[in-house]
Structures are given as structure tokens and as C-alpha cells.
Symmetry: D2
Subunit: 431 residues, 4 copies
């Protein structure tokens, strides 16, 4: 449910058309590729109450384009199937009739093949519309399509996160796809980046692409700090576990302790202690724990408790962004990498660290409006702003985040108890 503002570089509309059509086709095709390893029965499963089956994600993203692009921009458009208007609508009272959440997983009809026909129909109609729109309508249309692309990307990440959880609930622990051959990556020793602090500018410039809550750009005063060169590894996290970290309330915030006790957390989600040692469930099935990998699927409460145990703290989002703004945006993201966090490596020329990919990095910043932010009034009114309570900011993108979604200013947000997203920990420290 993200929103965005299109930043259209001045130029001939044909180039925009062409570029947009290409990006649209690629994004839509990528979603279809993500379900290629799944059978139609797999498309039906939903294990998280707040989640959805993959089939619904396929249909809902299409509903979004149909609603916010075709029906909004083309008065003559007739819905593919009037029933789909409600079946696949966003579960949000603000947008009219929609299914009750528990019904999503009961939709054996329409079948997966009908849903794929729905996708094809909407894809074709949008490309056709893009082809024939006049220059006057182009800006609005482009903005709407861009919005749909951001939405599509968010659901790609959710789809993979949710199918992972559903497969993990199956005692057979099926793999989403086979493990690709890959050279082992050695563990990188932790290093610390010294940052002098002072006034820094963060946030999206209004001419840059991105979601509106990522701006306005503004100044922040930072005190001198150190930021870890790479995320916390499974090996380091294991030391916390073995030191009794989950049993000592002194490391935990009150709400965190309560959450941990309520469902008896003893390790990150997907870790299983078996004979012969720890195993971790991945999109490639059960794998032995690799101590060099970034720890993943920890809640903010666990990240915060780990940091306290380690004598450090989580970074402010501004501290993270101040460093990331100077790095090339590379990393293990969806579209160019592995579907499980990998040990971080040196990639940049200017330093030993990597700020993007593998795991979303918890910050200690609650998700609140930047100074001067105003909830927009348009179609996408408050689409993300309305989540500005009880969430914490994560930064950097994970291995299932579409690569074109992760930038220095990208602000994502999760409830502090969330563990199903691919979330990890980067430490910080006062100097």
C-alpha cells in the first residue's frame, strides 16, 4: 500500500512511454516468475492471519492497476470481471467493499489460471492505453503506473515472505526452489565506521523518485557515532542465545519481554534446534546454520535486546542514512541475488561495508513524519502516513526486496514484534 510521486525528467513523452512500458512489463513479469516454482495448491496457502495466499497477491496487484490506472484514467474501461472488484480489493475500509480478511484463503475460485488471464488482460490493456494516451494525459497516467509499480514490488516481497512462512508450517518443510550452487563466502570481521556527526541532510528530495513519507528533505543534528561495517551474524547472535539472552529480562524492554514470553521465543524465527545442531529454514529448505550469515527474522525487540547485551545500541535512521548516502547502492536484493541472506563482502571502493540487501536493518527510530511532512490529499491519501504509530523504521532492503526499491532514503516500517520480514541488526555506538 505504498504511494509515490513520479519524478518525470523533462523529455519527449515517447521515451517516457517506452521506458515506462518496459519497466511495467518487467515488474509484472517478475511477479509471475516468483510463482513459477509453485503449484496451484501452493498458491492457496496462507499461514499468517495478516497475510494472503500467493494467488491473492497475483490478483490484488492486478486489481490495483485495474482500479487506480484503468478505471481512473480510462472512463470507457469495463472491468474484467465485476466480482473481482470486491474479491481482490484492498482490505481497507477507506476504499470501499472488500472481503473479510479470513476469506482470502478460501478462494479456490476463481482458479489460478483465471487469475493469470486477469493479469494478462490488465497488462495488455495498460500497455495499449500507454501507447495511445495523449500528451495531456501522460503525466497523470505515468504517475498512476509508477504508484502501481511500487505497490507491485511491495507485494513481491510479501509474497516471498509469506510463502516461506507457509512452507515452514508444513511438517515436510518443502523448499521454494532448489539451492543454487554458490561459492562459500567467508565471514567478514566486524569493523566500525567512525562518523563525526554534525548537521546532515536526510530524506527524499521532492524531485527524486520515492514515496512521499520519505520526504521532505531536512537537516538533522547528529552526535559523533560509530556504525557497524556489517550486520550481526548468526554466529554472534548464537553467543547471545548461549549466554541466556532470551531468559534475562534485564536486556529486554518491558513490551519485548512480554512478547517473547507470550510465544516463548528462544531463537530467531525459522531456527530449529535439532540433533546435530541448529538448522534454519530458508526458501531453499532446511539448511544447517551458517555462523557467517547475517542473522535474520528477528523482531525489533530481539534486535534491541541483542544490542543491549552487546553493550551497543541500534542506530537512528538518520545515522544509517548519513552513511548510506555515500555508498553505492549494491547488495543482495531481489532480482540480482540469492534468496537467503549471505555473508557481507566488501564491494565498494571506499570502504569495507555494504549498506543494502540481505536483511532489513532495524533502527531505533519510530516511524513518524519528518518535519514538515503533510498527509497528501489525493488518491493515495495517507497510504503510508496512516501507519505512523507503533512501527519502527527499517532500512536497506533485504534479499527479497526488489532491487529498484532500495535507496539511501527508502524508509520501510514494521511493528516491533514482526519477525516474518527478513529483518536483521546493524549496531551503532556513541563515541
Amino acid at each position: 500500500m505504498p504511494d509515490t510521486r513520479l519524478a518525470t525528467a523533462p523529455g519527449p513523452n515517447d521515451a517516457i512511454r517506452h521506458s515506462l512500458a518496459t519497466r511495467f512489463q518487467k515488474a509484472r513479469a517478475r511477479t509471475a516468475e516468483l510463482v513459477a516454482p509453485l503449484g496451484v495448491e501452493d498458491l492457496m496457502v496462507q499461514s499468517l492471519p495478516e497475510g494472503a495466499p500467493a494467488k491473492w497477491h497475483l490478483a490484488h496487484t492486478t486489481w490495483f492497476f485495474e482500479t487506480h490506472v484503468l478505471m481512473a484514467a480510462d472512463p470507457g474501461y469495463r472491468p474484467f470481471d465485476p466480482a473481482f472488484r470486491q474479491l481482490f480489493a484492498a482490505l481497507d475500509d477507506r476504499f470501499g467493499a472488500h472481503l473479510p480478511a479470513p476469506t482470502l484463503r478460501l478462494l479456490s475460485r476463481p482458479t489460478a489460471s483465471e487469475v493469470m488471464r486477469y493479469r494478462d488482460h490488465v497488462n495488455g490493456t495498460i500497455l495499449h492505453l500507454l501507447d495511445r494516451i495523449d500528451d495531456a494525459g501522460m503525466a497523470d497516467l505515468a504517475e498512476r503506473i509508477e504508484l502501481g509499480l511500487v505497490h507491485e514490488r511491495r507485494h513481491q516481497e510479501r509474497l516471498l515472505s509469506e510463502i516461506k512462512h507457509a512452507f515452514w508450517c508444513n511438517p515436510l518443510r518443502p523448499a521454494y526452489e532448489p539451492l543454487p550452487p554458490a561459492a562459500a563466502q567467508p565471514e567478514t570481521p566486524q569493523q566500525w565506521i567512525d562518523v563525526p556527526g554534525g548537521m546532515v541532510e536526510i530524506g527524499r528530495d521532492e524531485t527524486a523518485p520515492g514515496r512521499d513519507h520519505e520526504g521532505p528533505r531536512h537537516q538533522v543534528l547528529l552526535r559523533p557515532y560509530q556504525l557497524a561495517g556489517r550486520p550481526v551474524t548468526c554466529g554472534e547472535y548464537l553467543a547471545f542465545i548461549e549466554d541466556g539472552g532470551y531468559a534475562k529480562p534485564k536486556y529486554w524492554l518491558g513490551d519485548g519481554w512480554e512478547a517473547a514470553r507470550a510465544v516463548d521465543w528462544q531463537a530467531p524465527l525459522y531456527w530449529e534446534r535439532r540433533e546435530g545442531g541448529w538448522q534454519v529454514f530458508t526458501l531453499y529448505g532446511m539448511r544447517p546454520l551458517d555462523p557467517a550469515e547475517p542473522v535474520c527474522h528477528v523482531s525489533w525487540y530481539e534486535a534491541d535486546a541483542f544490542a543491549r547485551w552487546a553493550g551497543k545500541r541500534l542506530p537512528e535512521e538518520a545515522e544509517w542514512e548519513a552513511v548510506a548516502a555515500q555508498k553505492e547502492c549494491l547488495g543482495n536484493l531481489l532480482g540480482n541475488g540469492h534468496r537467503q541472506p549471505r555473508p557481507h563482502v566488501c564491494r565498494g571502493t571506499d570502504g569495507p561495508w555494504q549498506m543494502y540487501g540481505d536483511v532489513w536493518e532495524w533502527t531505533r527510530s519510530p516511524f513518524m513524519p519528518y518535519p514538515g511532512y503533510r498527509h497528501p490529499d489525493g488518491v493515495d491519501e495517507a497510504l503510508t502516513g496512516r501507519f505512523m504509530a507503533n512501527r519502527m523504521v527499517v532500512r536497506g532492503g533485504s534479499c527479497v526486496t526488489p532491487f529498484d526499491y532500495a535507496t539511501p532514503t527508502t524508509r520501510h516500517f514494521l511493528r516491533p514484534q514482526a519477525r516474518t520480514a527478513f529483518t536483521g541488526i546493524r549496531l551503532a555506538e556513541d563515541v
Copy 2:
């Protein structure tokens, strides 16, 4: 989870073998036929917390034969797939490892086709075993297979009841199968059967087939009573609704009133008030309400309230059985009829009434042991006896009850708030 005792007629084992093999094949084939109208996605849906997807019913009934026949009677048998031992086990702590109930609907793997291979494998192995068993082992084997057949039949009924509910939860209200052409049946006027009372014998004779809780046969003292010649119709029930029956506490037992208010019952399950009048969801999709049809999908609380409103009462199970014992066992049951209750017709020569089929008929008898009943100690220990609390007895079988399951002594039982089984109302009255 029923149990039974085999009543082996004296005779050559070959005849028993042959008859048993035939009945086994028929029963197993009927289950497969029941899922023939469904797609693999349909086999995944489960809308009732205490229910299961159709795929699981297919596998679990097979697990039952594998466990209680093959593994019990053939020491050399190797399970089809060791993982299935747990995946499809009964959800009952008494029988060892099993899945948590909420996991059933998440089993996209094994696929439906793997489950059908599992069925074929177990079917073939049982027929082979039946063929080669020696006379010494025959009695035990036959008893085990009979038990499995009772179990299979129970799951056939559950499968249809549960797929109906799941389809009803889908806003598309898909039909399980198309409505067959059928002549309309006129409404039968209600008539009353006078029964003088006195000492009657009820219950299963120990030499007769059936489940153990249906015996021992014993005497019961009945006072003179009248029993309705046919079940209450939708038209009669509608009069109760229109008289405000659901809003007047004086007709309701305390627990019934609470249950009705908790989920705001306003009509039987599957009734929907739409523009143009009441519609009813059936296995044939949404249909206009037929006032002549027996009312169906009412809880015991509603049946009891309706009876009080009508100035009558529900029958004791002995009152029902005393009448049914004199009637031929015919009716609209699974295997010979329509998959929706139909208006009752005169079939017998001695009276204008039909005691079986269409709807299970609520009695006012709690499900308790008959005098002299003892919980058995064998494999099927207390399989039904353990439900002897908080359930009410229903009699007669419904349109989705396998026809060979409904006899004068068949005792089925449901919680008083249950509405998903095909339950209706036959009235009684003191004289």
C-alpha cells in the same frame, strides 16, 4: 472416529472375502467420486476450525486403513510414506503424534495427485491382503475393514458438509455440482402418528452390524405420544421467523439464547435474505427457498425453540426408534438421491411417512450410554463413547449420509450449537 463390531454371518470365508472386497471397493470409490466435481484448489479449502480440507479427508481415511488394517494385520507392511503417518493421523492425543489442527489447511504438499496415489496403493494392498489371508486371520481382518468402512462413511458426510460451508464462504457462492433435472415435489400436509407407549425395545442387538454405542438392546418405558409424519418444512420455519421467534427469549433455553445472540442467528445457516425473498445456499448453488422442503441446518437450540413456539416438543430417541423400527429404511440418502433435502413423500404401504434421509432429526435425548453399555478396551476404545458429554442424539440420516449407514438403531450425535451438518426437526407431542 466411529467404531463397530462385525457381524459375520456363518458361511464360507470366500463369500465373506468377496462381499467385503466389493463393499470396500465401492465405499472407497464413492469417496473418490465425491471429489470428482472439485478442482485441486477446491481440495485445499477449509472454512470450519474443526473441519478439514477435502484432500485431508481423502488422505486421512486412507491413513486409517493403513494404520488399523495394514499395519495392524500385516507385520511386514511398510508405510507408503513414513511422513504420512503423522500428516494424516487422527487429531487425537490418544493415538500419538498428529498435526495441530490449524495446519491441515496448509498442506499444499503432498499434492492431490500424490494423495490419490496413496489411496490407490492402500486400496490395492488391502484387496491383496484380503485375498491371501488365512481363515484364522479372517475374522480380525474383516472386523478391521468394517471399522474402516464406517469411518470412511463418516468422512464422506463430513467432506460434503464442509465443502458446502467453504463454498458458501466464497462470495462467488460456487456450486458443488449442477442442479439435476427433477420433478417438483408437492408439499405433504403434516399428519401425526399415534403411538400408545408402553414397554419397547430399542438399541442394536449384539449380533447386528453397527457401532458399539448403539447397544446393548434394552427395554424402555414410553408414555403415549404422537410423532409427526414428516419433518418441519422451510415454510413452517419461516412462520417462526416471521413471528419474531429469533427475538423472543421465552422460546429459548438459556444456552441457546446466548449462542443465538453471540453470532446473531436470524435464520438457519445458509439462508440469505435478498431482494426478492429468501435464498438458500445448497450444493447446487444459491436457490430460491422452497417452502415445501424440510428445514435444514438448524442447531438443536433452534429446533428446541421452534418446537416450543409450535406448542410441541422434540421426540426422545426411543420414541423415534419405536416408530422407525416398523418402517422400511428408505429415504433421500447419499448414494441414492438428491444432495439437498427434498419434500417428503409417502413411500411405505403402512403409512404416510418417511423416517430416513433428507435431514438428521434432532431428538431431545442427550448422547449418553445405554443401560449396560461398557466402554470397550480394544483398538477402538471409547471411540464414540468418549463423546458422551454435551452432545444431543440425531436420528435418521441426511441427504449426505451414506445410505448404508442409516438404520433404525443408528445413533449419531452433535453439539447443540452445531449447524453445519444437515440437521432438521421432527416434532412430537404428549398425548
Copy 3:
């Protein structure tokens, strides 16, 4: 919420007046005596969601007389305090405005002394009315007062049961009153009463006092049986515990097993395993377990499991009544005894057993209408009949049951999971 029908022996109204006035005064005074050991703070506590503070019981029983006697029989009566009409009304939708259940324990106002004034006022007004009513109005008035007396008695028992539970929740485990000096009673060896069965008559004759659901009197066919001469003792029950009775599902009904596991029952309510052995919380505070005492505060599920473990069963209520009808009605009841079950003793001349007092005895009879029972239509319409679902019949009265409430035909009823009433076990067996 009981109801009754007054059985007025023919005779001069003055005698009735006098007798009724005496019984009314005694019953009301006894309630006041029951709270004499309590401080005003004690009158505020309520530990059971379905319970009420003692202060509310004091006021509600008064509300009952004000509503069903004074306001019904005297058109000129003006309520003591109009606000009390709602504050102390029965929590039943059928009778109009009442408090939500969780509010009862919040009524610090009116104070206890105001409530006592309310009692005095209503008591005096009723005695005055009884004195001046004409003969025409006498029958109705007498019936209303009798009904109120039954109601008062039920609340006396509830008051003691609930204050016991509330005190047990206090870590100080305060005693309701000091233990009176009493000679130890030796354990009575179990003996069995042989009953030949046959046709017996049970139930209240319509000319006898009692509640309407206790009739009509009717014939029941019993098979030969044995009934235990005394209830199961704590020592016998301890053997069940020590044999692992709470851990073996084979003794338990399905619902019972679930109830036991849900709250981890390991022993009867109020038993505590401490250093030095089992202790039991009583109205006299914590006491060492006395193996000779009848076991008390067991649910029906536990009684049923115990019986199965012992190779016996619970009696039918008719089996119990057939024996009790021949015994003098004596026993340890409220008004003449100890406020904790005591070892049973021989009291009758015709046998070694005692059928009343100490503990309510679970039967295996669900609480259902007797043949021919009709829900009444009057002021007390369905007052007990409406509980005729999901309850089991208990017989005999306990040490906190007013002695004038326990007769051979008295039918009380409790949910099968109930443990706060003083419930015990008398075994039966088929012959």
C-alpha cells in the same frame, strides 16, 4: 433463580400466615448470619466471573422479594430506592434492565449498611403485608413468598461457595470462621446397597413442595444395580491421583480431557500439595487432608473419570432417588452441621448409609425435563427449565445447602466442568 409451587395444606389461613412468617424470618435471618463472620471489605470480593460479592447476594435476594412479592402483590408499594431496581436485578435479559456482570464487584456504593437497611425495610414490609392480606390474596402471596425462600436458599449456598473461592484466591488463605471443636470421625468402610430394579416412581408429586422441574412424578424402569453406601473419600481419590489418573486419557471423556488439560487439573479444587503432604482449603482455612472425608469440589468430568478408573460408574438420578426415598432425610447440611464435608456415619436404623449432606453427588443423568414436564407460563416461566442443556444432575445437598432444601426429589444441576460447588462422588454398578 429457582421456582416452586406452593403446596398449601388445607387449613385456616392464620396458621399459614404464622408458619410462613416464621419461616420467612428464619430464612432471611440465616442469610444475615452467614455474613456475620465477614467484614465489609470481605463483602466486596468476587473471584468467579459468574459469581457475585456477598453484598450483592444480600441485596439481590431482597430485590427478589421486593420485585416478586411486594411490587407484584401490593400495587401501592413504593420501592425502597428506585436505583436498586437495576443495581440488584437478576442478570437475565428476560427480566429487563440489569447490570453487566463485571459491574457487580464494583459497587462500593451503596454501602453494606445501606444494603442491610434495604433488607430490614423489605423484611418488615413483607411481614406487614402478610399480616394484612385478605384470604383471597393469601394463596398468591404465599406462593410468591415460597418462591422467594427457595431463591434465598440457593443464594445462601452460592454465597458460601463464592466466599470460599475468593478467600482461597487470597495468598493469606483467611478462614471464614474458626474451626469448631469436633470429635474425629473414623472412616466408614465402603458397603454396597443391592437394588433389584424394576419399575419405580420418582419425581415430585404435584401436591408436594419443591420446584416445578422436579415433577411430574412418573415411572422409570431400572435394571438391577448396586449403589455405594457412602461417597468416595479423599483417601480413595488420592489413590486415583497417585495412579496417574489425571495423566491417562483413557479414563476421560473427550470434553473432560480437554477441560482438564486447559487449566491443568491435577487434583480437586482447593487441594494443594505442600511440603509435608496435601492440604485442603476449607471455610476453616487450610487443613491437612483427611483421607476419611468425602472428596469434594470435583467436576463431573473428574467424577466420571474416577468411576471409570474404579471400574464402576456414576448412578442414574432415578437410581439415587429410588434409594433415597426410603431413607430419613438427615445429613450434614447448612443449618445443622459442619461447613466442610465430614466422614459419613450410620444414622438410619435400616442401613449403613446416609444419602444427604456433605457433598452434592454427581449422577450420570443430564438435566432434562421429566416426561410430561411443561415449561410454566407464569412469573417464574422456565426459571429452571431454561437451564435444561449442558448440565448434569446432582443430588443430596452439601454441607452448605440449607437443610430444608434437600429432599429425595430435589434435583440440582451444574455444568460438567463446575468445581466450586461442594460436589462429590457416589459410585454405582450394574449387577
Copy 4:
């Protein structure tokens, strides 16, 4: 559960002793005064699951002094009653054995008079200890007593907030005390304070009294803003209600909308729409709504929605503090005023506004650590820091906040759904 660090000005210990003894006696006496209008039955009521009866507050604050002062500072101290060590302990796993929360309201024993003796005993012993402590032990003792005083003040506020709620749950709506005669105060027109922004310093200096999470003092960059001269009034809030504010999701954050719908908020807590207009429940009983009074008992979600409706926003806590730091700390607080918010008046010489008292003012700042804050390691380890998740900061103190508790740097914190504290709204705006 606050903590503090004593800032002991250099000086003779005798003066410290004397001043501390005086403040200790006053604070303890004030708590006793707060319960003076209550009867012993009132001391028993608890309507909020997370609350406690007044009797428990009286005892628990005493437990705190006994535990953290007497037992910590005097090895020879013997507890007043060993059972009280657990009965009145903080409900926090970190501090050892304590009661389960639902048990607090069941403690009819010890009685209120025993609890008052407990208070007297501990008070006397502390004063005696203070008198005889040597200079070496003085600093530690003083710090412990200061900590207890902060704790006492927090419970004074909770006690009044909770008794208000409990009385409101009683249909009699009793008043805590009679309304004192007071001149009506006219409504103050809203005025706006212009603040230029820039670098400001906020937070407690380490030499100043207060709780540790209120420091360290640090610089914050503010943009130019306007702050309202007085809180939002009931009249202004009523306009929001009458404009359908509670029914329009566009004003609400997602979590706020869900919270509002879950319990159907239609107005602030304690507002009741009656014939003749809105009434408000106060510690003086039900009163007609005064449009000039500050609106009170609104959640953060409501405050946030109101601000959005008004086209404004809530202030950052630094914005609030920057203004408050220049004002004299006066206002309607506990100890010097009215126990219901009153219309704000001009009190300062330099401006038309009042920053303290009447209502806690919601800010849009989540309760998070200030830069450089470290969780302490001592007895009071993380006592407030551990609440640093899912709370919002409130500023300024309310009419039931002890007057010596409200300073420019005082940071209090509440969950965004909280409504039982006396919380109101001061608006802000970007320039």
C-alpha cells in the same frame, strides 16, 4: 515505577535531613488525605485490568519504602509483616515474587486499618532512620527516599485516575468529593505563540532533580513553529464530534481507527450524551459539559485525529519544552487546585498562556531515549527506560499530578490508546 537521581546541593547534612523529613512526611500525608473521602469499600474497587484498588496503592507505596529504603539501608530491619513482602510487591518479574494482577482486587484482608498501621510503622521507622543515619550513609539514604517520593507521587495520580474510573462504572456515579464553590472562569480565546526555531537545549541537567530518562541535556534543531497558547477546549472538541470526526477514517491513523472502532469511541471517555445535552463525569460527580474547559481523557489517537481535522498537528516534545522553559511553573496541579481541568487563564507576566496543569498534553514524540542516554545499572535499573516502546510522551502535568512533579523537563509517557489519565491536546503548526 519511576526512578530518579538525587541532586544534593552541597550543605550541612542536618538541613538535608530536615528538608527531606518534611517532604517525606508531606508526601505520605497527602496520599492519606487523598483516601480520606473514601469508605473502606471504596478502597476495594478496581475497574481497570491494569489498575489497582486504592488500598493496594496505599500498601504498595509503603512496600516500596520498606523494600528500597529500610531493607536496603538498614540490615537490622525486620519486615512489618513477612506476608506483605509478596502481597504488595511490584507486579514485575524483575523484582521477584509478586501477586498475579487479577488478585489485587481480592485482598479484603489485610483490612484497610491494618494497611494504615503498616503505613504508620514504615513512616515512623524511616523518620527514625533519617534521624540517626551517619553522614557516610546519608547520600545513599537520601537518594533512596527521593526515589520513593517520586514513586509515591506517581501512585497518587494513579489512585485518583483509577478511583474516578471505578466510580464511573457504578451506575450511581458517586462523587469522590463535593464540588467546591468556585467562580466560573470565562473561556480564553486561542492565541498562538510564534517560535523562531533553531538550536535549543532540552532535557534535565544531571545536577537537577528528576528522573534519569529526562536527561541527558542535549541540543535539538527546531524549525520555526507556532504553539497554541492554551489547550483545546471541550467546545472546540465538540465541533469535531458534531462534524462527524469519529466517523471519518480520513482523520485517523490506521491503528487509531481500529482502536476507535473496536470499542466504538464516540466522544472522550466520561462524556455521556443525555437528554438535555452532554454531561461529563468528574471527581465531583456528573456535571454538565463546560465548553470552556480543556478537553480531557482523550487518547493520543483522538488527539492526533482532532489535530488533523483542525488542520494543525501535535507538537514535538522539544517544541513544548522550548516554550515551557521560559514560563513560570504554575497551573492547576494536585496540591494547589481543582480536581477537574479548568479553563486556562493568564498567569504569567510575559504571555497569555499556561503550560502546566489541568491536562497532560500529548506530543507527537514517541517515548524514546534521548541521545546519549544509557540504561542505569542500579536498583532502579531501566525502571522507566524499559517502557521505551509503543508509548507517546505527554507533558505539563494534569490536575491530579502532584505539583512538585511538573517541571519543564518532566517527561511522562502513555500508550496511544490510553484514556484514563487526564490527557488533553495542545496544538502546534509549522510556520
